[in-house]
Symmetry: none
Subunit: 525 residues, 2 copies
């Protein structure tokens, strides 16, 4: 059971991903979370370059980290300059992190075409930079950029560069598949060669451009690498980095390596969602191990089997990574899915109720509902059939009006009149479109009575025409995804009228949120 060092670069390489933009506060919160779980190294950002990273390196010094070491990222010195005069290396020194990660050129093509120096000078740049930081009392990790492309084109030179880093005192050399173009067998050969060529232990840093970053990472470990670099959820430039969530789960659960703290793997789902939340990105429902659908079962055959024997259609028990089994209710599922879902609330012992729920689901599915993507509506449906549902408000009236002239964007206005706790709320709101206006009016009417709805946010809105042969007169299915600071849930509405379908889904979302806050929908003990 050897231990694999986990090096997280979510804050540096991850933040190069399109649309990813962490605030200083986000970066500090992620640092604390990673430390808590036992990540060994956290690359906090660029030593040089921007204000936010500079502030990060200052603030992180005041954090009481239990385990993780912070590293700052920078490049080897510029050509034809002394290391101690290089602004990048000075910035690395001044970041005051215990570890510095220095990236240098490994691929002869880059040396001659991008840097435009000769090979000897490139080796000197590596040697000088590592030696300078070591002399300054830092632990140095050397990142061999484009190692795998370099090794393929000119193995002799590629190996010389990492030898230079190792000899100059780098405590570890990380081999980077910077372009993400290498397949596992290419990784294996090149890692093996590196292992034979240098004394320093090896790390692996993969990108997912060929859709095999996790497999490449594991292959490098098989060949003797001892450190994995990657990002949480694989966020990063282009197709992203190796996803540390998948890499760690595979290494610990399938290959019996040690990584992080004992028991931390159970927090991978929570960690994944925490980072998505801070990055302001939507969860990826089909993400391996931690996605909300990763243990979802739709086909009736599968569900039937899962009920008989959980391991039959699950490669691991969802709970070992902190995830849950999810039974989808759909036309493909039949009775066994519903039985499994109602088990959660101990309802399956009530045969009459089960029958009534099944009948109601069948009726609604025939009318165009689909509960597989709308679990919150399904939870409410159970309450409705069980007659434990008490609406938090009653609709008296709504009106939506969209109006425009020859040239301008339309004006949209919604009025909503509700009975809430005995009071009549009659409000009006505008919006970018009719559903947005309706949503705004609904909240405006409810927030005085239910301030918790302030935290409710719509995340996604999907529309499908069901029996599409009828054109615009066909039925419309609206699915709304909502979230608060704890959970994400989906609700559904079906109607010939898209406004009414949206209204139904909005109402379910609000009702679910309020019931949930009251502690309903917790699994039965």
């Amino acid at each position: 059971m050897s231990r694999i060092q986990i090096y997280d670069t979510t804050l540096r390489d991850g933040s190069q991903g399109e649309g990813v933009n962490f605030s200083l506060q986000d970066k500090l919160m992620i640092t604390a979370k990673l430390d808590e779980l036992g990540f060994d190294l956290i690359e906090g950002g660029f030593a040089q370059a921007n204000q936010k990273d500079a502030e990060y390196f200052q603030h992180v010094q005041d954090m009481d980290l239990k385990h993780a070491q912070i590293t700052a990222f920078g490049m080897t010195r510029k050509k034809e300059i002394a290391a101690e005069d290089d602004l990048g290396l000075i910035a690395l020194r001044d970041a005051k992190t215990p570890v510095c990660t220095v990236v240098g050129k490994t691929w002869d093509l880059h040396v001659t075409e991008i840097l435009r120096v000769d090979e000897a000078e490139n080796l000197a740049m590596i040697r000088d930079s590592v030696a300078y930081l070591v002399a300054e009392g830092r632990r140095v990790i050397y990142d061999a950029e484009h190692y795998f492309d370099g090794y393929r084109h000119n193995p002799e030179f590629a190996l010389k560069t990492i030898q230079a880093a190792s000899e100059a005192g780098a405590e570890l050399v990380c081999l980077c598949d910077t372009n993400g173009g290498t397949l596992p067998e290419g990784i294996a050969a090149a890692v093996k060669a590196a292992k034979g060529a240098i004394k320093a232990p090896l790390g692996i840093h993969c990108h997912n451009d060929s859709d095999v970053a996790v497999a490449n990472t594991i292959r490098a470990i098989d060949e003797g690498a001892v450190q994995v670099q990657g990002t949480i959820n694989g966020i990063g430039e282009r197709c992203g980095n190796a996803d540390l969530v998948s890499a760690i789960a595979n290494l610990v659960l399938k290959k019996n390596y040690q990584a992080l703290h004992e028991g931390s793997v159970e927090h991978l789902t929570e960690l994944s969602r925490y980072v998505y939340e801070l990055a302001n990105m939507n969860f990826r429902s089909n993400q391996a191990f931690v996605g909300s659908s990763a243990f979802a079962h739709k086909g009736g055959m599968h569900v039937h089997a899962v009920n008989r024997l959980a391991s039959s259609y699950e490669h691991i028990t969802p709970e070992v990574v902190g995830n849950n089994r999810k039974i989808l209710v759909s036309e493909l599922s039949g009775r066994s899915n519903i039985v499994a879902k109602t088990t959660k609330y101990n309802l399956n012992q009530d045969a009459e109720l089960m029958k009534a729920i099944l009948a109601r689901v069948e009726e609604l599915e025939y009318a165009g509902y689909q509960f597989e993507a709308a679990e919150a509506s399904f939870d409410l449906l159970i309450k409705k059939v069980a007659k434990t549902y008490e609406p938090k408000f009653a609709r008296l009236h709504y009106r939506v009006n969209v109006e425009t002239d020859s040239a301008h964007d339309p004006q949209t206005e919604a009025t909503v009149k509700l009975k809430v706790n005995g009071n009549t709320e009659h409000v009006v709101a505008e919006g970018d479109g009719p559903v947005n206006a309706l949503d705004n009016a609904l909240r405006k009417a409810l927030i005085p009575a239910y301030p918790a709805l302030e935290t409710l946010q719509l995340v996604d809105y999907k529309v499908r025409v069901i029996n599409s042969t009828g054109g615009t007169a066909a039925k419309v299915r609206v699915v709304i995804e909502s979230k608060d600071n704890k959970e994400v849930w989906s609700t559904i509405g079906v109607s010939e009228n898209i406004i009414e379908a949206s209204w139904l889904a909005l109402v379910d979302s609000v009702e679910y949120k309020l019931y949930k806050d009251d502690g309903e929908f917790e699994p039965a003990k």
Copy 2:
């Protein structure tokens, strides 16, 4: 350069994915597209089970497929019943596809715990089912469910099951990692064993639960498998299937195998987006090879290098998979489409016009338009840029009102005021929903001047939220499919307001119909 057979199961295993729901029309359109690109086998659906798949197998017989063979999917016979009396096998026979795919149990645990039969009966179930369909004149592919788990737990029995299938006449045995829990080295060992044990050639069918489905697929090919099963974009149950897009790109571009038609790899990006469109799913921007960010460069260092030497930060040239570099060009997906389309009208000789069209498309795609699924709007766009577009009417005003009380379905009314051939038409109409009412009013105003619109019918109406993080305030893309007695065409509208987006698509549909009836849009002679 050996050839790998590509077996697509987007329409069957893909449709088990959460939220995936193809209409019959979608399924037929995907079939045509896959055939065009040279996919060898297309698994159309379940032979038994549902109406939609039954209709698919009927309609697909009338399609003029050039290359692809359709297969129907079903299970081995039930226990203790003759194959010819088994409803599933009868349905497979009656699906009338040239190929049948039969799935059977390989893992002893499933045989004893789920099926609850003894091992001898399981072998008989496999043998009888394959033999029955072969005797009925079908080519049979045998899917060994849970082969890799089965091989790990009881290799002897697992191999006996595939021997039974091979000896009974299966033309190929596909090894399935049904739970997606196997890592590449486990794939290698088990494929090698299968290869030594049976005569039939081998296929590989992976799921992505361990985030290594594509690597597993490639590893199986390395060990001698000759067929790859997967889905477009990896859609499918839980974490999805092996993504055929990545698998094909890796096999053809990196390992020099042949697959699909010569040159089809250049259409992978287009294919990926086409399937997302029909599945009503958002593109995954960081998807390997075909994602809109797959060749996007954000890091300043990278951009600088890419400018000096494109290959420095790209593992392949984006164009070889029909994708684009993002810093240099826009997200423009279908440059080749545009060239092809303008060729149709002999416009491509007018370099200035071509440039103007490209610029306009880029602008509109940036705003959320997508012309792949809206060719009629694209035809109109060409006319608009070429300044040969003369609107058949002008909008003066519209208003849509949706209103309801506590219990009833909403009342919907639309008023439309147009200038048509110098006359002002001001009409009002009702509808089942706001778009239907608007459509009714628009026709009511136009039919006196353009009676040909009597034959215009809306066939389908699709709505997508584009930047979905904004919830109901995000932009909305509406695609409308229309037909008359001669043709089917699609138009698009984008706006923050769903009513306005629908209006734009409706107007394009009407304009296209009227221009088309005037003989426009015929290919240039």
